[in-house]
């Protein structure tokens, strides 16, 4: 059965996938779906801080901007940031882990020590240091997130590659004269792919949380950008009155991250229910 077919049978994964697809589509078609698309960067303070109504579904912010519309455009920022950051981390970390795991020894040790340096602080702390020094822009957030996430993938793939190397079919391939590259790409990589895919989904959720925390701290794209974390930070000044302003972006983050987590959990059940439960900060294993 195809992968999609198996995902469709697992209701948890399916629910997550549907929510993610819905939000992605909403982000892509934000221009069409938004009721006030111009509110991303125009302001009309006559309508400031209006509660949710038929006109403004989630109310307005302090500049009179429609929160629902800004949320839709903010979804673009969130998804793009997370996808690029995770993609870059995976594209750097996975090959490094493969190579180091295959030719273990000095190279492997060196790579693991370098990873340890990056992992010596919680991701957000180093990301704050990088983003703060570089300045509040979306590219710097993506860079900070990628730089602090690749070591996680390198370590994971290193450990999994070393485990895979002891499998008999790998030994057989090597004995038959397969080149190292062939073994790594055609044999080991497909074996460790399920683990990578599962953690990518959960990692996307975690990256969204870290990225919005950076935005909350003022390190993300500057105003009037409708980045979700920054919207929550801006909303603080208007509590307790304009509670909808703080609630909406937070609920959006919650739904999106939960969807990625559920997809990851569901993928774990689908791709290999016997998969050894590795514990990790980014993706607690569970059933």
């Amino acid at each position: 059965m195809s992968l999609l077919g198996r995902i469709a049978r697992d209701r948890v994964a399916l629910a997550g996938l549907i929510v993610i697809a819905a939000i992605a589509l909403a982000a892509i078609f934000a221009g069409q779906l938004a009721t006030f698309p111009q509110d991303v960067d125009t302001y009309h303070t006559a309508q400031r801080l209006l509660p949710p109504s038929a006109v403004h579904w989630f109310g307005t912010n302090q500049m009179g901007g429609d929160i629902y519309s800004r949320l839709l455009f903010g979804a673009r920022i969130t998804l793009v940031t997370a996808v690029i950051a995770v993609a870059v981390s995976v594209l750097i970390g996975v090959p490094m882990g493969l190579v180091a795991g295959y030719w273990s020894g000095f190279l492997g040790d060196l790579l693991m020590r370098i990873s340890d340096i990056f992992l010596a602080v919680p991701q957000i702390v180093l990301a704050i240091a990088i983003a703060a020094t570089l300045g509040p822009q979306i590219q710097n957030v993506i860079l900070a997130l990628s730089l602090t996430y690749w070591p996680f993938w390198a370590r994971l793939v290193y450990a999994e590659t070393r485990n895979a190397k002891s499998e008999i079919y790998i030994e057989a391939a090597i004995a038959l004269g397969a080149s190292p590259w062939r073994v790594m790409v055609l044999h080991i990589l497909p074996a460790i792919a399920p683990s990578i895919i599962i953690r990518t989904s959960i990692g996307l959720g975690g990256t969204i949380l870290t990225a919005s925390a950076l935005g909350f701290l003022g390190l993300g794209p500057p105003p009037p950008s409708p980045e979700w974390g920054r919207m929550i930070a801006d909303a603080r000044a208007f509590l307790p009155g304009a509670w909808w302003y703080a609630a909406a972006p937070g609920i959006a983050i919650l739904i999106l991250v939960m969807a990625f987590n559920l997809l990851g959990d569901g993928l774990r059940d689908v791709l290999d229910p016997r998969l050894r439960r590795h514990g990790s900060p980014k993706g607690a294993s569970f059933d």
Binding site: A129, T133, I232
Partner: protein
């Protein structure tokens, strides 16, 4: 023997890792060309003053030399001068450390103290309504943004209901104390109204910080207990006629608890990370707030000093946990 080997290996690698972190942090700080002398001296400094300042702080030396001096300084605990307050960064960090430690300690206590029993209960009552409700709660706990949860709790309990204070660590002046933990110092000085005040201030920050940690611990404990329950020796015990309760208490919990130590290690990192934003929301005078203020003031020295400091703490705690695991896990011996 294995323990000694572990400690020996770590004692070599830990300083090297920390050294690497210092180098990394130094590199990060020098990626963007900025003139710290100008920031220190202010807008109206003359060129001569800038040159003198650069010489005094060593900014005019070649980069490798600056790196070496920085490393030596950090080893001596000197993490530079705050560009904003012009006082040593290390001193400010020391002053704020107890506040964050108190927050982290109680959050960990709540997370483990509530999380482990809940996880065990869920595992023993698998697929009951309790298990399902707990699962929904933990899944949300891992998906919720800590800073948002903090704001929500603050909105609900402080602003709408008025049962907890909006921010800060204490209403008036803190207890004169020994430990730096207001909960202990207030109790030691016998001032019970102050103690209650301190606890009321602790309530929401601890609730916020412990929630995701608790979610992780519940899930790990549940998975661990379920795994152990299915194991062979438990079946053997049942076959021998030992009541389930005894089996659970003696054996299953022991395995669950060894796993807890690993979880504490994982959770500690998340606690430190969460502390940054939680302290920002609750205006908690700890390291996290220090980091956030330093960001706002573009105080790069402070941010980098903070990063190194957190690195040292994190590495130290992980080392202790690794040692603890080897000590506690009989299978390792």
């Amino acid at each position: 023997m294995r323990l000694l080997g572990l400690i020996a290996r770590r004692l070599i690698w830990v300083p090297l890792t920390l050294l690497g972190l210092v180098v990394l942090v130094f590199m990060v700080s020098h990626v963007v060309p900025s003139d710290p002398a100008r920031i220190l001296a202010g807008e109206n400094a003359t060129t001569a003053q800038l040159v003198a300042l650069r010489h005094e702080y060593g900014f005019d030396r070649p980069l490798p030399v600056q790196l070496l001096r920085y490393i030596v300084a950090v080893i001596h605990g000197n993490m530079g001068i705050s560009l904003y307050t012009e006082t040593p960064v290390a001193g400010e960090i020391w002053r704020r450390l107890p506040a964050t430690m108190e927050l982290a300690f109680y959050s960990m206590l709540v997370a483990v103290g509530l999380g482990v029993p809940l996880g065990v209960a869920a595992a023993l009552n698998r697929n009951s309504w309790f298990d399902h409700v707990l699962r929904v709660v933990t899944v949300s706990g891992l998906a919720i943004a800590a800073f948002w949860l903090a704001i929500l709790l603050q909105l609900l309990f402080s602003m709408w209901l008025g049962v907890t204070p909006v921010q800060g660590r204490i209403s008036d002046f803190g207890p004169s104390g020994v430990t730096g933990f207001y909960t202990i110092d207030a109790a030691l000085s016998g001032d019970w109204s102050m103690e209650i005040d301190v606890l009321r201030h602790l309530a929401l920050p601890v609730a916020t910080l412990s929630f995701p940690a608790m979610a992780t611990i519940v899930r790990f404990t549940r998975a661990g207990v379920i795994g152990t329950l299915g194991s062979f020796f438990v079946d053997y015990q049942r076959a021998m006629g030992i009541p389930r309760r005894v089996t659970v208490w003696r054996y299953v919990l022991r395995s669950a608890l060894t796993g807890t130590l690993t979880q504490i290690g994982l959770v500690f990192g998340n606690l430190l990370a969460g502390a940054v934003v939680v302290e920002a929301v609750f205006d908690w005078p700890g390291l996290g707030q220090f980091a956030v203020n330093s960001i706002l003031q573009s105080d790069y020295n402070a941010i980098l000093g903070f990063t190194i400091y957190v690195g040292v703490m994190f590495v130290a705690v992980n080392l202790l946990i690794d040692i603890g695991q080897v000590v506690l896990d009989p299978r390792g011996r």
